[in-house]
């Protein structure tokens, strides 16, 4: 939804926060890039040290399992 003016559909994005174990500075960058490349993901923010990972995404366009796969593929465990 367009949050500036309130126009647009109301099927807005979901914001999820994960705690991820095992980040390095390098794989955190990689995860950020891979998540942003998913169709419905609009915003990603990662604190590599705390593992705190914020993902703003549209459940209509991207399944949660596709997001989890980005962590799995790199041997990371993410908890909601």
């Amino acid at each position: 939804m367009c949050k500036e003016c309130g126009c647009g559909e109301t099927n807005g994005n979901n914001r999820l926060q994960f705690i991820v174990d095992g980040y390095t500075d390098d794989n955190a960058k990689e995860v950020e890039k891979a998540l942003l490349g998913l169709p419905g993901v609009l915003y990603v923010h990662i604190h590599p040290h705390e593992g705190e990972t914020t993902v703003d995404y549209s459940p209509k366009l991207t399944k949660l399992s596709a997001i989890m796969k980005v962590f799995d593929d790199r041997g990371l465990t993410a908890n909601l």
Binding site: C2, G8, E9, L36, G37, L42
Partner: protein, 219 residues
């Protein structure tokens, strides 16, 4: 003369259904329809002017101009002898499918190869609305700053092609072309990103080739 139509209320719930109906109609008529988007002043109309100069003798094109109130852009298009319909949104920040449905009543689709719709200048709202287009193109001028793709991600995620315009003044603008290109490709791995100067006509060949290819693809 440009035809002007006024549109006020948009019917939100109906938008996607109308957009799908339009897309089917365009397919049936073999018209390639492009939604051209970007901020106010990024160079959309200048790009269209250069595009018309290059293509109008080989390709039957028409333009729909979205504008809040004026017909300034439609007047610029009209000078090239290309059919143009002006949609005035009466202050509305984006075009929607019902507006396009109304506008095409004034266009002979049977004779058309390419319809370009210049959306209202805005990096936010137009991205939310399917207007029946086959593809979206976004113009980002380097005067806007290289942080804009990540700040306005939806616009860049849904584009098939992004033009980074005004490269003629790159040295004054502190704009990282490689960085912006990488950000756009991070958001949208399949997208084409082209640095161009619409004023000078520099770098436009891949854009014109892409348009020709798209027009061929719907024949």
């Amino acid at each position: 003369m440009a035809v002007t139509i006024d549109v006020k209320a948009d019917i939100l719930g109906k938008n996607d259904a109308v957009a799908e109906e339009l897309r089917n109609l365009f397919k049936e008529k073999h018209v390639f329809v492009l939604d051209l988007m970007g901020s106010p002043g990024c160079g959309k109309t200048t790009l269209l002017e250069k595009t018309m100069q290059a293509l109008k003798d080989d390709i039957n094109m028409a333009v729909i101009e979205g504008d809040l109130f004026t017909s300034k852009d439609a007047d610029r298009i009209d000078r090239y002898g290309v059919p143009v319909v002006q949609i005035n949104t009466a202050g509305g920040c984006h075009l929607d499918a019902p507006m396009i449905k109304k506008a095409i009543e004034n266009i002979d689709l049977d004779k058309l190869d390419l319809l370009v719709i210049e959306n209202v200048g805005n990096l936010v709202c137009p991205a939310e609305f399917d207007i029946g287009e086959q593809k979206r193109a976004v113009v980002l001028s380097i005067t806007e700053g290289d942080d804009k793709p990540m700040k306005y991600p939806l616009m860049f995620k849904l584009a098939s092609i992004v033009l980074l315009n005004k490269t003629d003044i790159l040295k004054f603008c502190n704009f990282n072309l490689d960085g912006a290109t990488e950000d756009i490709k991070t958001l949208n791995p399949g997208v084409e990103v082209l640095p161009v100067s619409c004023s000078l006509g520099d770098g436009l060949k891949p854009w014109l080739d892409w348009l020709r290819e798209m027009v061929r693809s719907v024949k």
